[in-house]
Symmetry: C2
Subunit: 381 residues, 2 copies
């Protein structure tokens, strides 16, 4: 695990925001970082060359999806996920648990693991903490997640606690499986294992879960089970409760968030890593994130609008194409519309993260946070 390191570089005085350098076997990531989601080994609508142009330093891939298609054996045979998809920068994979709980049919959860049916063909599968590590080892991802039980929302205290206890037991098993894989595989270091803080919307459980995970001394910690229906202030409360008990010198990753206007708030709570499908999914649905708020490109008022999607944006899409053209592409269902919208949105997220990092480094994070927040909420004028 010498290949995995995290170092805090700057700290913001008024908040928990910080910048850092996360070193992985496939390169270094400047944090706080946003990870575009490449579910099936492709960030939807973008090529790997696009992602390099966009300076994406790390992407996420979904173990559940890759496990079903094309399968971990094929990916291992093809030399691992990096080689298979031709991406030589860092990759984080989730454990597959979230999708098993949200996508698959007929789940049967036991202490051993989860039996589930594929959402594609109904075939029967079994995912355990050990199996999740084994699959991620086949993928060869740089950062790997422990299988957790995704607590349903809303969950009462007793229910959430029971689920959290299982997540902790599964984290122990994940760690043992991960250590075995690290030792048995001489040729390359296994990815760094992150445990996941659960506990529903109960601050006490979040703190307890975080503290007990920290006792396992893992390379990093994720905060999961958020953005599942709870109000945003509650999300931030849960992040804050978890963060209280996480060590300064380890990276913290909030899974599956968030909207652009939320990014800086998570960072202010001490978060180092985030991921979200929103930039690409909204792009495909014609929603562009801009410095003035959301822009719904389908609207008739853009039909003759020769301005770029975001006049303050320096991305190749905004430098070249008008709202009128983007609208035309979208309403005619042309692929290029989805491509350009996704490109712009990913640029917007990554650019936002860079601004956040710069503002922390230069000591201007607090005014940045205030200004950014007031501009981004709501729709573009």
């Amino acid at each position: 695990m010498q290949d995995f390191q995290f170092r805090v570089i700057h700290r913001n005085r008024n908040t928990k925001a910080r910048t850092g350098l996360l070193t992985t076997p496939h390169g270094t990531v400047e944090t706080p970082a946003f990870m575009p989601v490449g579910t099936l080994g492709t960030v939807k609508g973008l090529s790997q060359q696009n992602l390099e142009e966009l300076d994406a330093s790390i992407i996420l891939a979904n173990t559940y999806h890759l496990y079903l298609r094309p399968g971990p054996d094929l990916i291992r045979e093809m030399g691992g996920l990096h080689r298979f998809i031709s991406w030589d920068r860092p990759i984080l994979t989730d454990s597959g648990g979230y999708q098993v709980f949200s996508l698959s049919a007929l789940r049967k959860v036991s202490e051993e693991g989860v039996e589930f049916r594929s959402h594609l063909d109904g075939s029967l599968h079994f995912l355990s903490p050990e199996r999740a590590m084994e699959i991620q080892d086949a993928l060869g991802s740089d950062i790997q997640m422990a299988l957790d039980e995704c607590t349903e929302f809303p969950a009462g205290l007793a229910e959430a606690e029971k689920s959290m206890e299982r997540t902790l037991r599964w984290a122990e098993r994940s760690k043992r499986a991960w250590q075995r894989a690290s030792h048995s595989d001489g040729k390359s270091p296994a990815g760094a294992l992150f445990g996941i803080v659960q506990g529903g919307t109960h601050a006490r459980l979040r703190r307890q879960c975080a503290s007990r995970l920290v006792e396992m001394d893992l390379p990093g910690y994720a905060i999961g089970g958020l953005s599942v229906g709870e109000a945003r202030p509650q999300t931030l409360d849960m992040v804050a409760a978890s963060e209280e008990c996480l060590p300064e010198d380890k990276p913290r990753y909030v899974m599956g968030v968030g909207l652009p206007e939320e990014l800086a708030h998570y960072v202010a709570s001490g978060v180092d890593m985030m991921d979200c499908v929103l930039p690409t999914r909204n792009g495909r649905n014609g929603c562009l994130f801009t410095s003035q708020g959301k822009l719904h490109i389908r609207q008739a008022r853009y039909a003759r609008d020769s301005r770029p999607a975001d006049e303050a944006c320096g991305c190749p899409v905004c430098r070249r194409y008008s709202r009128a053209y983007l609208r035309h592409l979208f309403v005619t269902g042309e692929m290029l519309g989805r491509i350009l919208n996704s490109y712009h949105n990913v640029y917007f997220y990554l650019d936002t993260m860079q601004r956040i990092r710069h503002s922390i480094a230069s000591g201007d994070f607090s005014p940045f946070l205030f200004d950014f927040n007031s501009r981004l909420q709501g729709d573009a004028p």
Copy 2:
């Protein structure tokens, strides 16, 4: 029309193949040229930057589609098609006739023009030779086509002759409308008008139509109504018959062709320009054109194939991605599969044209033709 010129540069000794330079208001095109089809102002799956990287020197757009969405008035307001889609190289537009005859519902053809219902919403429209020129003038394309009557296939001699006579009368009307537009519009020269040779599969009619179009002294001539169901040898016969009567010093464009292995044959018959949806349509359907024939990426035998789609290809797709990954993208329905396949196929077409041009210039066209032909037919081994 000083902005439009055509100059033959090299001639092949054994065939009618030739290279040339076609100068338009938006730049010069080396011929023989293949024009990727950008139906709605976008070559499906590729960005304008991609097309520039691919060195596409001219693209085609469909008047019928752009007339319906976003409409010629909007495009004129946005500064013309080049500006609207952000493409400053040459554009050729068809007259809209072909799509009216092939796509729209409830056509009523009269001497005056064609009444038709939109394939999108059933709304009623009318296209005449004058209207087709007016619309293309609004688009501001560099090369514009006269409205022709697309003779149905198969058509007997009498039917084909009647249809051809109408096409000739419409060409006369197109020319008058085009001249009026050229004179009335002081600010920029109207695009160059091409007449279209019809005549079904009757060589005598093809010769007659070509000769009478040539009397109109148009900037260029297209050969239409081919690749509509007839056998390929017949297509080439009709091209040859038309070509016999077309002047040496004007560009010749065969509309809507063809397969890669056919390109050099058209060139051998004296063709300077071609267009076809095949590279992008087949790309979307998972069919890759390669130097060894067609490759159907869906096939299970490519699941673990780490070779590029075409080992002899230098395109960015073949340099970076394996068949295994392309297959994975295709079978999972990921947009990137359609994008990469389309990119490779357009590269393959444009690269083929460049090889054809070089072989003509260097005097090696005949061996090229033989070799190319024998390799390309059928499926990749």
